[in-house]
Symmetry: C2
Subunit: 412 residues, 2 copies
Amino acid sequence: MAIIVQKYGGTSVANADKIKRVAARVARTKDQGNKVVVVVSALGQTTDELVALAHQVAKEPSGREFDMLVSTGEQVSIALLAMALHDIGYDAISFTGSQVGIVTDSSHTRARIISADRKRMMRELDKDRVVIVAGFQGVSEGQEITTLGRGGSDTTAVALATVLPADVCEIYTDVDGVFTADPRIVPNARKMPAVSYDEMLELASAGAKVLHLRAVELAKNYDVKLHVRSSFTEEEGTVVVAETQEMERVMIGGVSLDKEEAKLSLAGVPDVPGIAAKLFTALADCGINVDMIVQSVGEDGLNTISFTVTKSDLRLALQITEKVGAELGAKRVESDPGIAKVSAVGAGMRSHSGVAAKMFRALGDAGINIHMISTSEIKLSCVVDESRAEEAVQVVHEAFKLGTLTVEGTAE
Amino acid sequence: MAIIVQKYGGTSVANADKIKRVAARVARTKDQGNKVVVVVSALGQTTDELVALAHQVAKEPSGREFDMLVSTGEQVSIALLAMALHDIGYDAISFTGSQVGIVTDSSHTRARIISADRKRMMRELDKDRVVIVAGFQGVSEGQEITTLGRGGSDTTAVALATVLPADVCEIYTDVDGVFTADPRIVPNARKMPAVSYDEMLELASAGAKVLHLRAVELAKNYDVKLHVRSSFTEEEGTVVVAETQEMERVMIGGVSLDKEEAKLSLAGVPDVPGIAAKLFTALADCGINVDMIVQSVGEDGLNTISFTVTKSDLRLALQITEKVGAELGAKRVESDPGIAKVSAVGAGMRSHSGVAAKMFRALGDAGINIHMISTSEIKLSCVVDESRAEEAVQVVHEAFKLGTLTVEGTAE
């Protein structure tokens, strides 16, 4: 008898009718002879509404009280889903993160899971019950309610799948799976039947929002099979597993787009050791996450350091960079919020040469200027003008023939 | 340094602005040199909305999941109030019922408090913090979330006032205190500066909704001083305390109205022992609370038993009564949802004769027919046609001159 963890996001449980549909789907999985653990997010826009309320009563809500507040959203969902299952004749029981022993550190609003207790879940599964667990939340060792940050329900699902252990962790969402590119931008984008953890990680960090980054990391570390699929169809989605020999045949798996970053440059600084360390330590101390970093030395022997941050961090990052720049005697500091990052991701990149050249040529032929380039083992990212972003995704997708590529040797 | 428990109902915390106003009021109480514990209900209509959602997904929501669901309402309130206090510079910390050790029995949706733990509250009060506790909820010994039933936040407040112990338990509401009658019905109704626990109990059970019955019982048992007052003014409200010598001078304290009951009659049953027991055992077994009971023997030697139940229980009560009636060979069973109960309450009734006569005369003079009469030591209730209910309250209020009566020797 297989154990299946299913995670349903907020859009899948947005109202009573949708909750009933989720209940029917859970029931079918149960009828197929599986033990089922369900993780749910808060109903539709609930979390946003609670956050808005918090900001109406306080300028800076404390982390502890924020978690006390927003964790109620998932508690509503689990109770309603349990009721809906009872109503169609299935035994089910709901648990808060605390009740099912999801222990986290005490970093409110962005806690990390330390451990999860399988005993209570197994006891209920052995009674032939569906177990429903609130996503996104846990309890600290000091018995405080904590939350895992946006997208944390994915992480909850993978953590539970790890400790049970489950045969598969199904992530239900409003899209059919992981695509070679956003179908709204590239109409002939294809759903990928399978991707590796590493590709999924690069896709997630490159702006594909289908899976939460930490959830993929956790799944990779504990080898949890993920299945990203639509809650509105019965079709197979995309399986995320460890890399296989067959997968390597695919050079590029997908093209992703991230428009949420802005670019900063510190230009004309002396080429001496410690400059980058000084700048990025100052940024890290203020909690600013830096994504891409490019450094180059000009003919004048002066350095230019360019990097990207989230648009919402731009103003603060600019202040810090100007301050550090002044101390270092930099010639100028520039910022540009009007950029986008286009990334090609594929495990096959390792064994195929010429990938970068092909991508640069595709962009160049379209007259799209590349401002920054960054590479990892299986990802190649180019920063381009935001106004040309969609076109850039299209030409790169076309250059690698992703719309027509047949994936050999995968699950489908 | 006094310890004060303040309870704010749902209308007092209906939105962000009202929550800020409550925060300001709590802050003033703190500034006056008190240790403050605040109990809050769910925001405005939240509980009703959650209950409606439950009924959209299931015909009969289970008690456990119902409590899991509706307990979120109070959790939202406590977090928001804590944030609002932080925002105006006051240290505060919120707790769920479970976190502050409010242990109940396991009767979901109508749990009774077994114990409350003062240690956690005292530790926080000693740190000079305002302690905010979710009303209406607790945790069973099996670690399940429970709720106390409608109005349960009053009970939470009194329970906390008992264990602390607090000097006073202030119940904030949208009216100025306890009145001699509903001011919407009797324009010259007066606010009573003080009433005894017993009078408050009779008023509450007679339909005055200002305080939850169980809360008054608990306050009486542990001698907790209650102060019912408005959250919108600084005026003193009504103090509920043990009966004093001075209070006895008031013959009738107030007139209350209850339109939520329906009347049933089992007519023409033989006058033999065990009839009433059989009927009311059958009703109790189905969880139906019976309020007034009147039995009379007619000239034919046959019995008529009349009683009242909550309107929502009428249909079930009628089925049971018809079944029992058939077994007993009763001549007929009648039901009437169109009734109302008018009650005069006052500790002075004990020592004053002629109270009943005066009430009956007032109703008779107005041409209002009395269907049932029931008396207790300090209460006199008459069932009348629902269509004449408001007029009945007015004439009884007038008969006892409650609009002009001066209360001697009380707090004000």
